[in-house]
């Protein structure tokens, strides 16, 4: 199928691509095809300019100085909190906790929300789809408290087993922690029905939204989740910055996680009193430019519209699935009925690292390995997959380039 025959949702992808300077370069003598968006997305010029403008004009430490720059930096930093609040429809900016990313957000909940009350006999429930960041923090808190980590199985499409979940959840369950979208397979987990069941059992719910938030509209109040974690760098923002959304009533009861500056009101050697939300959880000088960059990224995403982004990416997924399925010997791993624009695959008996190296020489950037989801690889009895993950700045032609690079891979390895 010729790429330009595809019906596209009136989406001017060429105009969008002009906003992303990094996309316009040659890699190994070929135009770059960047299909590693699930690992980290690229930045539109508006995000890069917001960050550099902050450093060129406004930088100072926040929350402290009475001088003009400190005030401007504080305004930008706290203004970003409201941009983020609106983007996920949280009720209050106090519910937006800045972190270093999804991983730190999950660790914060494990150590501050669960650890003080978790005890032997209690359980934390996750799914077999999770990224290591939504496994290991729970393992650590279980080791610290004697609680158990329970895992909802998945089926051979990469769909979480809802019936098994209903049997696993119970009065011993102290938290349900689920990926909203699987990074390794692209499965969109129908979290609403999981949350509904958890609510009936009085079990709080954390969603790992790192892979969902770049691709779909997230409304934390409609979802009715208790915690939602995400990273700026998966959604056009900078690395080293992310967000924990938490329901205010829960956050208020949680003790501080890390101690230091900014999170206190008064300090004496006998006792310190702690700042209010959200700063109670933000010890030390934060990544101010991270907040500025994320706010600019959200404004860019909203300028296009999350619904249009989701629709276009779905067309990319549909086309790529059809196109790659036609390559003899290629098997897609993860065939859930609802997927984000991620295709994990194995190709004959060619090791994914060979695929990654060879398609890179054709200018095509994909991810290979276990994608920080070793239990998912174990389930499918494979050491690794190759993964192409798409963003709204990718094109149908780029999918054709990937397919051609895969055909080339087989030729190089003598297949």
């Amino acid at each position: 199928m010729s790429a330009n025959l595809r019906p596209v949702t009136g989406f001017d992808v060429e105009a969008i691509r002009r906003d992303f300077p990094i996309l316009h370069q040659q890699v190994n003598g070929k135009p770059l095809v960047y299909l590693d968006n699930a690992a980290s997305s690229q930045h539109p010029r508006s995000v890069i300019e917001a960050i550099s403008s902050y450093y060129e004009r406004d930088h100072a430490n926040v929350h402290r100085g009475v001088h003009a720059l400190s005030q401007r930096a504080t305004d930008a930093f706290e203004g970003a909190r409201d941009v983020i609040r609106r983007f996920i429809n949280a009720a209050d900016t106090k519910e937006i906790i800045y972190t270093r990313g999804t991983t730190e957000a999950v660790n914060l909940v494990a150590q501050s929300f669960l650890r003080p009350t978790l005890k032997a006999g209690d359980e934390v429930l996750i799914s077999a789809l999770e990224h290591h960041a939504n496994i290991v923090p729970w393992q650590l808190v279980c080791e610290q408290t004697g609680a158990k980590l329970k895992v909802i199985p998945i089926d051979d499409r990469g769909v979480v087993d809802f019936a098994a979940f209903e049997k696993l959840i119970g009065p011993q369950t102290k938290l349900l922690a689920l990926a909203h979208v699987s990074n390794a397979l692209g499965t969109i987990v129908p979290v609403a029905k999981y949350i509904a069941v958890a609510k009936r059992h009085g079990v709080p719910v954390l969603l790992d939204g790192a892979q969902a938030i770049p691709h779909t509209r997230v409304d934390v109040r409609a979802l009715d989740c208790d915690f939602y974690c995400f990273s700026a760098h998966k959604m056009l923002g900078p690395t080293g910055f992310g967000v924990l959304y938490g329901r205010k009533a829960l956050l208020e009861k949680m003790p501080p996680w890390q101690g230091g500056g900014d999170m206190i009101l008064t300090v004496t050697f006998e006792k310190s009193t702690f700042n209010q939300l959200p700063w109670k959880f933000e010890a030390g000088t934060p990544h101010i430019a991270g907040a500025v960059g994320l706010a600019a990224a959200i404004e860019y995403l909203e300028g296009i519209g999350m619904d249009r982004i989701a629709a276009y990416e779905h067309e990319l997924l549909t086309y790529a699935t059809e196109r790659l399925s036609k390559i003899p010997g290629l098997r897609i791993v993860g065939t859930a009925p609802e997927k984000a624009a991620v295709i994990s695959f194995v190709f004959d008996d060619i090791h994914p690292h060979d695929i990654g190296t060879i398609v890179d020489t054709e200018g095509v950037a994909i991810r290979t390995g276990h994608h920080c989801a070793m239990p998912v690889m174990d389930f499918f009895k494979i050491p690794a997959t190759a993964r192409a993950s798409f963003s709204f700045y990718n094109t149908f032609e780029e999918i054709d380039r990937l397919a051609a690079a895969l055909e080339h891979t087989r030729r190089v390895l003598g297949g």
């Binding site: 090791h351 190296t357 390995g369 276990h370 390895l413």
Partner: protein, 148 residues
């Protein structure tokens, strides 16, 4: 960066048809190598006759570079003493990592086909895993080896 430098005919051949592939039982020495990020995993077995490696085999799975490198290793070290293996390892290591390596390629035989790997730094760990694993086997090391 030329792909043909990495995937030379010798490499492609040894990946598709690895030599000395399988278990060696009983073995005087064995060790496991595992690069968890890649998923490369192999076991190297050796039979020893005094200081000399009288037989060597490997099994496992991995990328073309790791499998071909292990296959080439088995051909190269059979019949060699430990000291000769160490000298060979030093040469291969220099070949894999240094552009200005002062290595006599004629002494390396087919192992010279690995010289293209140095243009692909991310893949050096694939080619060197089997060598570190053989060393661990000869040193009777129980812990699995990794080059990541």
């Amino acid at each position: 960066m030329d792909l043909k430098d990495l995937y030379r005919d010798v490499i492609v051949d040894h990946n598709r048809n690895p030599r000395n592939f399988g278990k060696l039982e009983p073995a005087d020495a064995r060790a496991d190598g595992h690069n968890p990020l890649c998923g490369d995993r192999l076991t190297v077995y050796a039979k020893l006759d005094g200081e000399q490696i009288s037989d060597v085999k490997f099994e496992g799975s991995g990328c073309a570079i790791s499998v071909a490198s292990a296959s080439l290793l088995t051909e190269a070290v059979k019949g060699k003493t430990r000291a000769e293996v160490q000298a060979l390892f030093d040469d291969v290591h220099a070949l894999l990592t240094q552009h200005d390596a002062n290595v006599d390629l004629s002494k390396l035989g087919k192992l010279a086909a690995l010289s293209g790997v140095r243009e692909f730094p991310a893949r050096v760990k694939c080619a060197s895993l089997c060598w570190h694993t053989l060393n661990a086997a000869l040193d009777s090391q129980a812990e699995p080896v990794s080059t990541e």
